[in-house]
Symmetry: C2
Subunit: 292 residues, 2 copies
C-alpha cells in the first residue's frame, strides 16, 4: 500500500526535500512506496494528517538560526491524536536564482521571510540597495523571475533544477551550519524511541511553577535538550512549554517523571517518543520524486 505524505509545497521547498528524504528512507527500511502531497501551509499539512486525508506529515519544527517553527508547535498542541514518529535534520543551503546576467542587475529579491533573514548579511554586502519582498514559500518566489530579469529569488538548488532557473550565487546563507529539524507526524500512538517530547501548561498565577517540572527531570538525570515557551493565547504572560527529553518513554525514570509531572501541571500532552533518523546529510538535489 502506498503511503501518503503531506508537506508544505509546492515542489522545491525544503519541506519537500525533507519529505523526499523520508520517503527514500521509508522505501529502503520497509519497502513501502510513498506519494507526496504538497499543501499551501504547514498548518494545512498537519491538519490533513489529523483528518486522515494523509497518513504522514513531514513538517519543520526548528531551524538552527531562526529558532522554532511556531505554527508547528501551536497546531500540534491544538490536535489531540497526532504524534511524532521520527525526527530528521536537513542541512539548508540557499541559492540566489535569477534570469539576470549579473548580480549587479538585480533590484528586488523575493523569498520566504525566514530565507531572507538567513541571508541578511550576504544581501547587505552584495545587494545593499535591493528591495526585499516576502513570499509564502521559497518556491512561490520563483514566479516573479521569468518576466523580470531584475528580480532575484532565494530558494534551493533543487528548485533551480526543477524549474530550470539559473543560479547566480550559492551558498548565500550567512551561517554555514544552517539546518532544520523536521518531525514526522501520524495518528499512531506514541511508541518508544530515544527522544521524548512533551508539552504542558502550568496552573495560572503560580510563581516559580516552571522550576518544579525541570527539577523532576533533573532529579532523575533526564537531560532536557530543548525547552520552548509559547503563548496559551489566553492572555499575555500565560505560556505553554514544549520540552524535548533525552529518554525513552517506557523507562522507569520517564514513567515516574510523568506521574509526578501530572501533579504539578495543568494539562500535559505526550507528543511522541521517537528516534532521530540518520538521514538528511545527503540531500536529494535531483528530481527524485517517488513515482508510486
Amino acid at each position: 500500500m502506498e503511503i501518503s505524505i503531506a508537506h508544505l509545497g509546492p515542489a522545491g521547498t525544503y519541506a519537500e526535500s525533507a519529505a523526499l528524504a523520508y520517503a527514500k528512507w521509508l522505501q529502503t527500511a520497509t519497502g513501502q512506496i510513498s506519494t507526496l502531497y504538497p499543501y499551501a501551509s504547514i498548518a494545512q499539512a498537519i491538519r490533513a494528517t489529523a483528518d486522515g486525508k494523509a497518513q504522514i506529515a513531514v513538517v519543520p519544527v526548528e531551524n538552527s538560526i531562526e529558532g522554532s517553527v511556531t505554527v508547528t508547535l501551536d497546531t500540534l498542541w491544538q490536535l489531540d491524536h497526532l504524534h511524532i514518529q521520527q525526527a530528521l535534520t536537513l542541512p539548508i543551503a540557499h541559492a540566489l536564482l535569477s534570469m539576470a546576467t549579473a548580480i549587479d542587475a538585480i533590484e528586488v529579491v523575493y523569498s520566504h521571510p525566514q530565507a531572507l533573514a538567513q541571508c541578511q548579511m550576504w544581501l547587505e554586502r552584495f545587494l545593499p540597495s535591493v528591495s526585499l519582498v516576502p513570499t509564502n514559500s521559497t518556491t512561490e518566489a520563483l514566479q516573479y523571475l521569468r518576466d523580470n530579469p531584475q528580480a532575484g529569488a532565494i530558494s534551493s538548488q533543487r528548485a533551480a533544477q526543477l524549474y530550470d532557473l539559473p543560479i547566480l550565487a550559492y551558498p548565500i546563507n550567512d551561517h554555514p551550519d544552517n539546518c532544520t529539524r523536521f518531525w514526522v507526524l501520524s495518528l499512531k500512538p506514541p511508541e518508544n524511541g530515544s527522544q521524548t517530547s512533551l508539552a504542558f501548561s502550568l496552573p495560572a498565577n503560580t510563581p516559580g511553577a516552571l522550576v518544579k517540572p525541570l527539577q523532576i527531570f533533573a532529579e532523575r538525570q533526564i537531560n532536557m535538550s530543548r525547552i520552548e515557551s509559547r503563548p496559551t493565547k489566553r492572555s499575555l504572560g500565560d505560556y505553554l512549554f514544549f520540552v524535548d527529553l533525552e529518554t525513552d518513554l517506557q523507562s522507569a525514570k520517564a514513567q515516574s517523571a510523568l506521574a509526578e509531572l501530572r501533579t504539578c501541571t495543568e494539562t500535559i500532552k505526550i507528543l511522541g517518543s521517537y528516534d532521530v533518523l540518520p538521514i538528511g546529510e545527503a540531500l536529494p538535489t535531483s528530481s527524485s520524486r517517488p513515482e508510486g
Copy 2:
C-alpha cells in the same frame, strides 16, 4: 531638547502607535517633546539607537497570540550597550480595509504575516477562498488597495484614518485579548525598576544546565514571569535564554542571584531593570503625531 524615537514604520503600524503612546506619556511625565523616526525594519530601528542616530527605540517584544518577536531578542543580544528603560502593552485590534463595496468582492488580502495569522479563523470563515499575500508591515499592505477594488488589507483603524481608506470589518482578530508588549530601549545603563530582564547562554553539552539558573531564582522567591529560548546560531540544539524576573535589580536577592548565576552560565547580559508604564489602554487612533 527634542527626543528622537525610532520605530518600525511607516506611519500607521502598531509600532508607531506604541511610539506615539510613549511620546505622549513622556510629554506628560517630563514635559519633553519627541519626534518619531520610522525605520524599514525592527532591527534597523534598534541599530539606529545603538549607533546614537536616535535616542530611543520603541520595539515589540511579545504578542499574546504569536509569541516572541525574535528579531528584537536576537538584535538586543548582539548589541552590548542598549538597555530596556520601560515596557508598555498595547491592545491590538485589526481592521479589514478595502475599496471594495462589499466583503464578497475581495479576492486577495495583503498584510504582515503575523496579522494574517492573527485573523486566520475570521478569514477562513468570511473569505475562505481569497489569496493571502504577505507584506513587510501592515501599512505596506495598503499600497495595493487604491488600484484594485478586489484587494483587501489587514491594518489598524489608525492606518485607515491616516491613509483615508474605508474599513469593511472591525475588529477581525480571532482572539479579542490580542495585545503586544513593547520595550523602550536606549543607551542608558540599567537602573532599578520592578522588572528585570536577563539573557544568558549555558556551557555547551552540560545536561540539565538550565535547571541551576531556575533554581537560583526559585530559592530566592524571585518569580520568573517569562522564559524564552533562542538559538545561539552556532549549532542546532545550542540555545540562549531570555528571562523576565519580577524583581528590581538592586535588591539583595537579585544581586545574590546574579552573583551565583555568573558561576553557572557562559555569558550573561543584564538587558534592563524597568517599570511597566500604565499606558496603552487608550490607543491614539487619531493622527496625534507630535509636531515638535
